[in-house]
Every structure is written in C-alpha cells, then in structure tokens.
C-alpha cells in the first residue's frame, strides 16, 4: 500500500514537473539560444542548436543608448505607481474595513469595475482625453493610467488586511488618549504592513510588465521596457536576437521580485485579491 502510494506520488510529481519543463524551461532555453547565437554564422532550419555562439546581441543591446533610459524609466514609473497606489488605497481600504455604511456593496463593486471592464477601453478613451490636456505621451499620463489597474487590487488586499486587525487594539489606543488620527497612523498603519508588502510587490510587478495601457497613453514617446520590446517585435523588422536579450533584461528583475514576494507573504494574497468577486 505504502509503495503503491509513493509510486503514484512519484507519477504525480513527474506529471507536474513535465508540465513545467514543457511550458517554462523549454521556452527559456529557446530564448537563450536566440540571445546567444552568432549572427555572423546564422542559425537556420533545420539546425536545432546554433553552430556557434556569441555575445554580439548583448553588446548591441547594452550599447543601444535607448535601453538604459527605458529600464530606468520602467523602474521609476513602477516605484511611483507603487507608492501612489499604497497612499491612495490606504484611506479607502480603512473606510471599507472599519466603517459600516449604506452603499458599501456598491462602492465595492465600483472598485472592482476596472478589473471587469477591459483595460484597453478605458486606456484608449483616457488617451484621447489626455491628448486634450497635454498629458498624452507623458510619463505622468502613463503613471495615471497604470494606477487604474493597480488600485483595485491594492484596495482589496489592504481591506482584507485591515479587517483582520482586532478592533480592541484601536479601542485600547483610543482609551489611552490617542486621537482617531493617531490611532490609525500609529496602530493600524504599521499593522497593515503585510498587506502593503504583498500589495506593493503585486503592484510593482503589474506596473513593470504593463504594456497595453501604457502603450495607448504613452506611445511612441514614453518607452518603458515592455513598450520597447514591442517595438522590436511588432515593428517593421523583426529583431529576434535583440528581442531575446531584452526579454531577459525584462524578466530578471521580475523573477527576483517574484521570489521575494513568495518569501515575504505567507498568505496567498493574490488568490485573496482575485478569488472572490
């Protein structure tokens, strides 16, 4: 019985990792081959592995004056979006978690609405509105449009975190003479740290990889990394090696943050933020 069970366990494990190898490892290897092949020798079918390797695509990308500004811009936009999302979401989440009021369900549904309505619809319309106000093609415009997508999740995650804080702690602080504002800032805000950490990482990732909304509002002037990668792929000439290198540059910080996020957050915040409507 025990051996049969361990055998089936092994089979299940094999199935899971075979899935990973096919959908994750295999594509990464192919991209790596493209990033390191030697364009002078070429890599044509039916060769499965390039005949020689070189770093020329990397040299080309790293020498490209546009890549570093794009990377810095992506980093800057993501940090600003993360900070702003946290700052805007906290008071609203506090109200949703602590105050009973009529229309609460309506407010909750409205906050969920940006997740339901396709992002491209709002972004394209906002692009036209921004055009009239001179915000089209500006970094500020891109930050503003990204906040629409990140706020709902942050509010949901923070609300769930704040609901978990025992009311007694707030009451104790109030009894001991803290004003409501001090009680919120000194008790609730620090206790909401896990929510900020989880929501912040989620926001940062979402902002860093965001393409469609940024593209509708910022292109072609504001070139974040994702938008630049698009210009390598969807442009007139398909630059596969360059795109492969940019893919790696784009993925590395994502994966670092991703693994950090896994370590930091015990609860499944993403499931908590998305699994209920």
């Amino acid at each position: 019985m025990a051996s049969r069970s361990s055998k089936s366990q092994g089979l299940v494990g094999f199935g899971l990792y075979a899935y990973l190898a096919l959908t994750l490892l295999f594509p990464i290897i192919v991209i790596a081959l493209w990033a390191f092949y030697d364009p002078k020798v070429g890599w044509f079918p039916p060769d499965i592995i390039p005949r020689s390797f070189s770093l020329s695509a990397w040299r080309e990308v790293l020498a490209d004056r546009n890549i570093w500004p794009s990377a810095m811009l992506s980093l800057f936009v993501s940090i600003v979006v993360t900070v702003l999302t946290g700052a805007l979401a906290f008071p609203t989440a506090w109200a949703l978690a602590q105050f009973p009021f009529r229309l609460k369900r309506a407010v909750e549904i409205f906050i969920l609405a940006p997740v339901i309505v396709p992002g491209i619809v709002v972004a394209i319309s906002l692009g036209e509105i921004f055009f009239r106000f001179g915000l089209f093609g500006t970094v500020l415009g891109v930050i503003l449009v990204q906040l629409i997508g990140t706020l709902p999740f942050m509010i949901r995650i923070l609300t769930a975190t704040l609901e978990g804080i025992p009311n007694e702690l707030i009451y104790a602080a109030r009894t001991l003479g803290a004003s409501p504002r001090v009680a919120v800032l000194c008790i609730a805000l620090p206790l909401a740290w896990p929510g900020f950490a989880a929501g912040g990482l989620l926001t940062f990732i979402a902002s860093f990889e965001e393409f469609e909304k940024s593209f509708m509002v910022g292109a072609p002037k504001v070139q974040t990394l994702a938008v630049r990668l698009w210009s390598y792929l969807g442009g007139d000439i398909l630059v596969l090696p360059t795109a492969a290198v940019v893919t790696f540059i784009l993925l590395t910080p994502m994966l670092v943050i991703f693994i950090l996020a896994e370590r930091l957050s015990k609860d499944d915040v993403m499931a908590a933020g998305l699994g209920k409507l």
Binding site: S8, V12, G13, G15, L16, Y17, Y19, L20, L24, F26, V30, P45, P46, I48, L88, A89, P91, T92, A95, Q98, R105, V107, F110, I111, A113, P114, V115, V117, I120, V121, V122, I124, S125, I129, L147, I148, L151, A160, Y171, E209, E210, F211, E212, F215, L229, L233, G234, A243, T247, L251, M254, F258, E262, D268, M270, A271, L274, G275, K276, L277
Partner: protein, 289 residues
Amino acid sequence: MNPTKVNTLTLLLCLLPGVGYLLVFFGLPLVTVVFGSFTSRAPGASPITLDTWITLFSSPVYLDGLWFSLWLGIAPTAVSLLVSLPLSALMQANETSQKLFGTLYRIPLVVPGVVAGFLVLVILDRGGMASRLLMPLGIPMPRLVRDDWGVGAIIASSWKTIPFMTLIIAGAMAAISKDILAAARTLGANRLTVLWRIQLPLAQPGITAAVLLSFIGSLGSYVIPSLLGPAYPLPLSVHMFAEGFQKGNWPMVYAMGTLLSVLAIAVLLAYYAIVGSFSRGSAALTARS
C-alpha cells in the same frame, strides 16, 4: 464610542482618495466611451445619432471582429480550464512537490504579454523550434502563427491564464477540509470520485470566478492577437486602436469599447446569477478565502 456611528465627512474623506481617483480616471473615460458612441463628429450630421452602432452591426468586417473577440475570449479560457483543473487536483494530491512547483508554475503571471507572444513566435512560427524538432521525425508543422483560427494567439493567452486559473482553483481546493476527503475515501470513494463529487463542487465558486476573470482578460487583449493573430479577422481591441489612432474615427472606437464592456459586464452578471444572489455569492466566496 459607538463604532457604528461615523461622521459622514470622515467617511467621505477616507473614501475619496481611492474612489475619487477611480471616478475621475476610470468612471469619466467610461462615461465618455458610452456617450461618445452615440455622437457624430461628421459636419452636418445630427450630434446625437445611432449611425455608428448601425455601421458597427452592419459591417461584416466589424461583425467578424466581434465574433473573433469572443472566440479569443472563450477558447483560451476553455483550454486553460482543461489544463488548470488537473494541475490543481494533482497539486493537492502531491504535497512534496507543492512547495517548489507551487512557486515555479506562477512565473508566467509576471511575464508580460509581449514576452508570451515572443515565446510562441520563436517556438511555433514556421522555422521555429517546434518545426525544427519535428522535422527529423517527418512530422510537418501546421501553421499556428497568424493562422485563421488564431491558434498561436490562443496558446499565448492560455500560457498566461493557466497559472492564473490554477492559482485560484488550487486555492479553492486547498481550502476544502482534508477530513471531508478522508471521510469520502474511507466510505469507499476512489480518487476520481472524490475529485468529481467532492472537490470540484466545493471549489466551484473559485472555478467560476477564475473562468470569468480569464474570459474578461482575454476578451480585450491587444498585444497577443496583434502579434500572433491573423490579418483577418481582427479582434475589436485591434480594430479600436486602428480606428482611433490611425483613422481618427473616435465614435467607432467608443462603440466598440462600449460593446466590449457590455459583454464583460454581461458575463459578470451571469456569474452572479450562477453563484446566487449578490449577497449569497459574496458570502460564499468570502468565507472561502
């Protein structure tokens, strides 16, 4: 202090940053979209008109776009569900691999859609890795990128939505008490019966939510179909971009945007109808997480 009595002003001030922001930057554009679809900018025409809608629903190009948008929403959702359900169930069955696998399978969640499209391009396009690997075996590679059915786009979308669905469904399944599963097994149910009669019904709210969110996500996607999809038909999202920024036909952009939003909201309402009344649905889902 009576906690139920809160100063209305305090409440509004607290709600203002988040809700106010969404009202201005989400609500306003959405209202612009809906009303804009009934306006005309042509000189001499009446300012309020149904012309755009009539054009939208009488043009075969746009109608094909509508069906193709729906197809690109439904097909990846169906594919993802077929993969996610077994994946979620296998994850419950094997606890030792849960930790590492549970981290790694989510990686596509943080991979931009542009990159997902690029992966499909280098593997499945003609001359791509798949055709090179199959060539020695004598298996011809069917056309999967820029094909009529959008198979390449469906694969790329599914690649992104499978981890998303698995995350939610596995979360729902993990929340089921182990005692229930053990009880069923003791009473003679085999693993498949447990999955079919216990795990799936109990995880159903999570599954429905995952299906809904994945459909909506794929419905409006722009980058994957424009990279991997066929030249005809184009989904509404791609039409919208071309109509707006290339032709300046904004009423048509707004009409298509309204249509996509209405479709998404209709699916949400159907979801609420399936799960039950508003409150019952939210209670069931809240209790789960």
